[in-house]
Amino acid sequence: MKTETKITLEQVVPEINISKKKLEKTPTGIKGFDEITYGGIPKNRPTILVGGSGTGKTFMSMEYIINGAMIFNEPGLFMTFEERIEDLIVNALTIGHDLEKLISEKKIFLDHLNINNNEIHEVGKYNIDGLFVILDQAIQKVNAKRIVLDSFDTLFSNFDTRILRSEFKRLFLWLKEKKVTAIITAETGDTFLTRLGLEENVADCVIELNNRLNNQIGTRRIRIVKYRGAFHSNNEYPFTIDEKGMTVFPVINQSIDFKIVNEKISSGLKSLDEMLENKGFYLGSSILISGTAGTGKSSMSMIFVNSVCKNNLSCLFCAFEESPNQIIRNMELIGIDLMPLINSNKLKFYHAIPTLLNLELHFMAIKEEIEKTKPAIIILDPVSNLITEGPNSDIRIMLTQFIWYLKTKKLTVMFTAAITLNSISLNQNDEGISSTVDTWIMLQDVDFFNKRINTLEVKKSRGMSHSKLKKEIKISSNGITLLPLVVKENGVQLHSINISESKQQNAYQYKSDDLNENGKSD
């Protein structure tokens, strides 16, 4: 037998139209969610949405109904057992949707079933045919294709679970027969996934929402627990709820084989370009500038910005440490005037206090800014300030995904971070961040007698033969200059410019610049 050895991209990442043949899906219209489910929730089947209180179950299901009515032209029924209809209308208005209008247009039907459980006493066996009658009437009112039942726990909180088990099955079968795509919300239970502990057995699709608190910052997450008959991502994805609705982050891009640009862009420093094959960075790559405090990370990035803007490309500078005005003042000291760039709209600032929002929201806001201004270059200064925002593994995943997003957009991104060799040995995650980038420039300070010297080296640069030399970096009112370091036989690094000093000490020797350039020398 002939064995198939070649694995195509389609096999690894299933396209939507492949799974469409197997199982029809109903798109929810929720940003990012349809991507992680490869098309939405199973059509004409019930889906269970489970989560603790305040995780966004009602919000998500409401958006599903609204999107159905507004985008996909599918009328929806929202049956609530908890909130009053007036409250739901007010809540929807806060995200900019006029439910009353949709109701009058017969696109949405809201129904509130008031379950006063105290009045119900069980006297023998029963079934839930009454619910079918109520649902059936409500479905007919708008000819609903989408249904939300919010929430199951309220509906059946006082009922006997033994009887309910078979009744749940009947309800699910009934919903399937009615050819409606239903979302049923349920509370998270202690021992089972849902509190009643039985719905997940009969459901075709189970989605879990949670809201975890880490270092005082809560993050909402979504996970597809189960999806019969279809591929789905197993990961937990962060999502946000804001005035624009629900957004699952990050949006997965189906295509890995995005186009690669071979063009290069100058770093703004001639001497640094020389270390990078005389040209600079690749367009659309990611660049990390790491180093300890005061080694000139921000200045390096600003010089890059300055040169980029002068080449008629626009730039987005995301400052998490300094305010724009402070940056402008500081850059004047090294001879860069940012005001003309700002006035000509080439340079835009995004600045926020890192602790103000959680990481996803920061990236969301930056993404929005990118969509709006469409810059060519993005600077994140510094990305290590965001690390305080969550457990380090989180930011690594987030950063990787963010870089992927930027790469598919063909954007060049430059991060600055307080990562040094010492910090890597202390914190493994630092290395993780540096491994996700294409070009890594490391700044370090070296003690030399009673003087501190800042050095620059290109740690890595994918796709080019970069210089392995360490250079001295000097920041003055004329900008940044790179100077070669001289190495003596015993390995002591020397401050090259202070020849007089070294001559005085008469212990070091000076070699010409040319010899050390590009690692060509001995």
């Binding site: 006297v123 023998g124 009658v133 109520i134």
Partner: protein
């Protein structure tokens, strides 16, 4: 201490309630019941039978039973928001009481509705 001496006799506080059956309070009022069923369901006949037996025994002719099929009268089902069937509602006298099930638990039915 004075207080303590006053309460020494427990008989002073021994209130004896006279238990009056509920049906005596509502003696002259007619009982109104609504029973929501699905005729096709196995519980339908059972619940009607149970109803009749209990009411005939305890209320004699002093009651009215309205049997409603949920599929024939969906408006009423929606209005009363009946989820589970059979459901028996005591409409009058107030307070309204709802019993869910085939009414096979006679003791509970009598306790909740009549006595």
């Amino acid at each position: 201490m004075k207080m303590a001496s006053q309460i020494k006799s427990s008989a002073d506080f021994d209130c004896k309630f006279k238990i009056i059956p509920m049906k005596n309070i509502y003696n002259n009022k007619k009982y109104l019941f609504e029973l929501f069923i699905n005729k096709k369901s196995i519980y339908a006949l059972k619940s009607i039978k149970n109803c009749r037996t209990i009411f005939d025994k305890y209320l004699q002719n002093n009651y009215e039973l309205d049997i409603i099929d949920i599929y024939e009268q969906p408006e009423k089902t929606i209005k009363e928001q009946i989820i589970a069937i059979p459901t028996l509602i005591k409409k009058s006298p107030l307070p309204e009481v709802r019993l869910t099930g085939d009414l096979s638990d006679t003791e509970k039915v009598v306790y909740e509705l009549i006595d």
